[in-house]
């Protein structure tokens, strides 16, 4: 797989290092000559330096043969330009960027960037929704954040421990999608009883997540 990484800073270096370990064909493009030299030394491969939003430098980087272009500059306007140039001029199948302003996530999708992720949004989601609930293992947002999927751990003293699913009055827009017990996945039925150490896959809309969580594990899990 050929990956072109465009940008600067630590995240560029660590990603490049990771991809090189996986034996991807990695090409880096960065604005500053000094940083290009350092990256080239540390990663022992050639690094291009120049205006990263100039279509010609992407061509020099081999964009015509690239499978993925990752735009990691601190400027959203530059990230958008890089992704659009890659897609439109060089037909790169996947363009991925880290948007700096969370509000740009949606716009970038509309403008045909394959994946636009906002680290700011992810961190604030984790902070808001996970603070106080250490039971939540993972949190995935789908449908533009309207629906969340969370992994919830039931403890012996959780309000839901010992109860059957039908006896818990979960909000209408919340659903237990699976019970993971002793390494096996059980399909929940109304009569399924929840036990301590069960891990639940909880699917809920943004507005119902807190309430559902409260019913299952309580609020005291800080």
């Amino acid at each position: 797989m050929k990956v072109i990484l465009v940008g600067s800073g630590r995240i560029l270096y660590y990603l490049a290092r990771q991809f090189i370990r996986k034996d991807y064909d990695v090409q880096i493009v960065t604005p500053a000559k000094q940083e290009a030299r350092e990256l080239s030394q540390h990663l022992s491969r050639p690094v291009l330096a120049g205006d990263v939003t100039d279509p010609r430098i992407l061509e020099d980087a081999g964009a015509f043969r690239a499978d993925v272009v990752l735009a990691l500059t601190p400027n959203d306007e530059d990230n958008l330009a890089i992704c659009q140039i890659a897609r439109q001029m060089y037909k790169v199948p996947r363009t991925i960027t880290l948007v700096n302003d969370p509000e740009n996530e949606e716009v970038f999708h509309k403008l045909k960037v394959s994946v636009a992720i906002s680290a700011t949004r992810i961190l604030s989601t984790i902070l808001e929704e996970q603070a106080g609930f250490e039971e939540i293992g993972k949190l995935i947002s789908v449908a533009e954040g309207q629906v969340s999927v969370a992994e919830v751990v039931i403890r012996e003293d959780s309000p839901a421990a010992g109860l059957t699913i039908e006896s818990i009055a979960l909000p209408e827009e919340a659903l237990i999608g699976g019970i993971i017990r002793e390494g096996r996945v059980l399909i929940p039925k109304g009569g399924s009883q929840l036990l301590g150490a069960d891990r639940l896959i909880l699917i809920a809309t943004e507005t119902s997540m807190d309430e559902a969580m409260h019913m299952l594990v309580g609020n005291d899990a800080k």
Binding site: T53, D54, P55, E77, L80, A81, Q84, M89, E103, K110
Partner: protein, 146 residues
Amino acid sequence: MKKRSGQQPDSIVIVGCGRLGAMLARRLSLAGSRVVVIDRDSGAFAQLETGFSGFRVTGDAVEHDVLREAGLASADCLLAVTEKDTLNLMVAQVAKTVFEVPRVIARVYDPIRETLYRRLGIDTISPTSLTAREFLHLVEQKRAQP
């Protein structure tokens, strides 16, 4: 906002208050349009000469909040004329897709980018291409003379 075809737009947002932005702002304002100028640097508004009776918004036009504050949602025209191509192109696309502004034009120095964004449906003006055309035109005229 009602659009009056053939006349100039009622309400215009200009992003970038450099020489070009300031000149456009002043002329459009004198001609009777409601003009809002956005620039990151409040010092840039000093370029606006007397005769400009519009509004000034200080902020980074990449942020939707700044565009909202400038009333872009009800504007009928956006001109993106900062010194930075990629910024102009992004603001133009946000204006079109998010704020649904009917008329959007961006200044783009690099002629290669200009072709690309024309294909994406953004109206662009490239000073480089325009200047080159004028130069070549004059050169040709000189050559034609005996």
